[in-house]
Symmetry: C2
């Protein structure tokens, strides 16, 4: 059985400086508030690191995976295989399990010499000082999961950030400016139904009050709000949730691809250029409750049959535009085997790399849904009805297409080239997705990018599966990603120092 | 405001014998266990009643509606109009509101001189003695409703039975054999998901233990079973739930049509010849949870998109066979806007007057669903996928076509002729539904018909709407039905006496 204790063991061993095999020179005394009783550490400044130095600095794959799986003891989900860690995750944001993962994050980063700040959305910012004071460069992602999620989405990004801190400490690397790791709250939007809500508040794109008042949708009938749950688990921080209070020099996020492109192309690293545009809607269909046995088709206003047609129509319209349309939630009333439902509500998620395409799909769906509700669609073989449904749209969320910062993309690309060799990353020409990748999913990096330079690193995951217990990335893929994350953060630190800010 | 007190007032007034305007002769002293201090009642024996006597005996429409609406104070649902009683019902079986309605039924029928028996399924049998001992003729229906039901489905049948008892008492009518009224438990199958379960146990078609172990599906997360709820509200009776313990000479059920045929044909009474065959299934579709943004259509196994196609396919197949197919329940997992659902379960209700047609629709749906799950259906405009879903069927309930008893049908027809005139009922030729009507919905009469002569009476309801708060039958229609119900019961009593049993 995989035990949580392993975390402690691994963490403790980090406090012992190790002799590096690289050629880094000591420069000055280690100045963080920790006591190293023995040995004379040799410090190395990032400003003075050559490409060869960068290439020699590598994270500890075994320790990274050990940390990742140890944290996954909190909020375990469904088992999907026979292996020790073949178990999914169900760590809903601000749950007891999420609190345990947060506590681990705070304790671990503090033990590594970081100062940890918690803001009013529970975002945790752990900062390791640099030679000079200044705004930190962050590696960030999230520790919450979907209700039937896996071990890599979000968790890998945070654990890789922590592993970066451990590696910098091990190797006495001194950055010019502070570097940090962020754990963003409720990125998934699963428990509190707004994804990336806490980086959204931080970016001042979402009002704090709206976010605090979000009600839990899982478990059912829960009356908790984000604010009440933040208070309950002790993570309602005193720092304002704002980029003004916790600014960033840059934000890098490592994530599993959540799609099959890297795996299909046998690529180790994806340099992410941006994030797809998407919109979320709630569609309400109103018909008429009626008896399934006594009401002939021509007298029905069947809200579920109508919603089924709409779901299929949205799929076809999106397919025509090479976009995506998906329904993840559907509820109906009254919910009895022998009553035709008179009320159906469903979510609609439309995505495309282009804002215009999302708008086109939305407009075509609106037209098609109206026709379907009114019985005007020509659907061969369906029974006509004298009675019709009504349809109503509510826009829940709009996330325009995101284009990451060239400096950040360049740092990721260089770190990727370092790890894999020039050709591996540089020639990543992946069909419709352009020379670099576009993320299909939203990430906290969408919001950090609104305020500060940002980019992302993708690593392959098996079969492109994500938001599923069986989500899996190999230890090698996770280590690749963590190495590129660290490489990008250090290169950005060097870039800043070179530019004198 | 409509008050419950009115019930008590109406009930009490019944205890005063009234002077009849008919020509009935007193025959012997009233022998029921109630004290009538004043007046010398004139009794009339059904055996001696002529058609003219039957025609002179009419229920009290105002009192019937007063009773019906008074009982609807318990378990009120959604308001749908401005009128005092324009409010739907939500009286789930064995709820606190259902207990109040049951208590009313027991107290009222006892005060009318009935003996009330409760069996192990909570079925209530109220029996008014006849001149001779013997097995009673019953009028029966149910007092429970759908979660968003109306005031007439089931409730009218029971209230009309009670009104029959009051009218017999008022007019000192003496039947040859006992007559009774039944309130069957959980007919709707809404809270405990098996419709007509308690008449089914009584008919020994459903094992008692299976019924007792049925779990509540409304409200969500309820852990109650039928047995625990029967105990909780004090309606777990000591009489075995069996037709052997509470046999019937015959069973008549008045019900709103729950369809538009009578209204469309401007008919007051439907003589019901039988009940459609139907089967209930639970269909489970398993795909794969995946991210809505990162998973392109060709990599998805979208259980909801697949289920939507199945629902539409079942509709088309049923339509082709002039049958009905309906889905009233659909649940999915995991239920998050940005996760393609990997699991969907839905109910499928297939109906036709012919058993063979139900079987044909079932077989065609099974074939079609397999093809849809495997992605083999040709669906123009849909994105193909490398990944497929699986589909699984579970048969929950089979109710073969029911053909009611000729004697009972004849009694209903004669009572209908009496009320409306010969042509009104005799020439009721209603298209595909045959000379008489077939009920689209299942009723407790399906089970009573398995053991004893049975038939039903339909009255029109507005727009054919049922299982809906706005379900409505006019006071005149309700009174018509109650008059035919009483007329049929008395004619059957006379028929028995004439045959000497």
């Amino acid at each position: 059985m995989f035990s949580c204790k392993s975390t402690t063991t691994v963490t403790s061993s980090l406090l012992r400086p190790r002799v590096s095999t690289s050629t880094w020179r000591p420069r000055r005394q280690w100045r963080y508030g920790r006591s190293f009783a023995t040995s004379s550490p040799r410090l190395i400044a990032v400003t003075e690191m050559t490409e060869r130095d960068f290439a020699a600095l590598r994270i500890n794959e075994k320790r990274l995976m050990s940390d990742l799986h140890a944290t996954c003891e909190w909020g375990k989900g469904e088992r999907w295989g026979d292996g020790e860690t073949d178990i999914g995750m169900s760590r809903l944001s601000l749950s007891d399990a999420d609190k345990q993962a947060r506590d681990w994050f705070a304790e671990t980063t503090q033990s590594l010499g970081c100062k940890v700040t918690v803001d009013a959305m529970g975002n945790q910012f752990a900062v390791r000082p640099g030679t000079s004071d200044g705004v930190p460069v962050y590696a960030g992602s999230h520790l919450d999961t979907q209700p039937t999620g896996g071990r890599y989405d979000g968790i890998l990004g945070v654990c890789a950030g922590v592993e970066m801190l451990k590696t910098l400490n091990d190797n006495w690397v001194e950055t010019s400016y502070p570097v940090g790791v962020v754990n963003w709250t409720n990125e998934e939007g699963a428990r509190f139904p707004k994804s990336m809500v806490s980086s959204g508040v931080w970016a001042e794109s979402i009002p704090l009050e709206d976010a605090h008042n979000l009600k839990s949708v899982i478990p059912a009938n829960d009356t908790a709000t984000m604010k009440s749950e933040l208070e309950r688990i002790g993570y309602l921080g005193s720092t304002p949730a704002s980029y003004k209070s916790t600014p960033m020099a840059a934000h890098f996020e490592l994530h599993i691809e959540q799609g099959p492109i890297l795996e299909a192309g046998d690529r180790r690293i994806g340099v992410v250029r941006g994030v797809q545009a998407y919109k979320w809607f709630t569609v309400t269909v109103r018909g008429r409750d009626s008896h399934t046995g006594a009401t002939q088709f021509r007298h029905r206003a069947d809200a579920l049959l109508t919603a089924s047609k709409m779901i299929i129509a949205s799929h076809k319209i999106a397919h025509k535009h090479s976009a995506l349309a998906s329904t993840g939630i559907l509820t109906l009333k009254p919910g009895s085997t022998n009553t035709v439902p008179g009320f159906v509500q469903f979510s609609l998620d439309i995505r495309s790399p282009r804002n215009e395409t999302v708008d086109e799909v939305e407009a075509e769906c609106k037209k098609a849904f109206e026709e379907i509700a009114a019985g005007e669609d020509i659907d061969t073989g369906s029974a006509p009805s004298e009675r019709h449904c009504s349809v109503e749209w509510k826009t829940d969320f709009v996330s325009p297409a995101t284009f990451f910062h060239d400096d950040c993309i360049k740092c990721v690309q260089e770190a990727g080239n370092d790890l894999c060799g020039q050709g591996e990353v540089k020639d990543l020409d992946i069909g419709a997705w352009g020379k670099f990748m576009t993320s299909g999913a939203g990430h906290d990096s969408v919001y950090t990018n609104k305020r500060f330079p940002t980019s992302m690193i993708f690593v392959p995951c098996r079969d492109g599966v994500s938001h599923n217990p069986a989500e899996y990335s190999s230890p090698e893929a996770c280590a690749d990603g963590a190495n590129v994350l660290m490489g990008a953060v250090l290169r950005y630190d060097k870039l800043r120092a070179g530019r004198g800010h």
